[in-house]
Subunit: 144 residues, 2 copies
């Protein structure tokens, strides 16, 4: 069954991990991310060592093609519990402090690790243009 | 820490779910898949209703660009346990019975659901050209 946008964003926001897919000259790329959802914007920050940051494939790909897809999914041995949600949108990369600080606050509210060790960045902000989602059954996505 | 290819394929093979990223005219696409790893080949089959199968975005994208990336990741509240593995390769789509039958056997050996209800297909076979993997610590990927 298809999921409505409101259900998609609820499930997406509550997930601790997602997968960010980008397109580049070397083909598609996909990497796990931690993130926060703020209305229709997904924020995620690079927490690799600054030295290697600028060589990250995801950043190179976004510089060439800003379109991204972000997936959250739930797997279970019982396949009637499966669901997934995908956010398609456009990504922007920034190092500007006035954008990094509020993003760090959003991420720190979700992840205790970021309270102790704020991510250096850069920041990737994805404006969601389309939600898509699927569940194997209504029970799979019912609220607790 | 970077993971060696042998560790990557071991972790990948044992995971029940992965995410298949493809590139298309509408940008990148990513979807969860169940799969089996047979040496350097990943097999996954479409188990949607046959009627809608040919319209699936992943199949349209592979027809236009055979390069794919497949991600397996492990998330945990303790970030020292995180790891991920990515397989980059080329995908082929087929409906030929002589290829579907052995793929169904591989998948049925991993997933009980497929023993009762074999997937109709088509079959996507990805020849892995490169393994990439990362772990937050050696303990995250040590064998039990």
């Amino acid at each position: 069954m298809r999921l409505e946008a409101a259900t998609c964003s609820r499930l997406f926001a509550a997930s601790p991990v997602a997968r960010l897919a980008t397109s580049g000259r070397n083909g598609p790329h996909v990497v796990p991310i931690v993130f926060a959802l703020d209305h229709d914007r997904v924020v995620t920050m690079v927490d690799a060592k600054p030295k290697s940051t600028r060589r990250l494939q995801r950043l190179a790909n976004i510089a060439g093609d800003s379109r991204v897809a972000i997936l959250v999914d739930h797997f279970a041995a019982d396949w009637s519990r499966l669901w997934w949600v995908r956010a398609d949108g456009k990504a922007e990369v920034t190092d500007a402090a006035e954008q990094l600080d509020p993003a760090r606050s959003l991420l720190a509210a979700k992840y205790p690790q970021y309270r102790e060790q704020p991510p250096p960045g850069p920041l990737i902000t994805v404006t969601v243009e389309r939600w898509a989602g699927w569940a194997a059954s209504p029970e799979a996505v019912s609220q607790p």
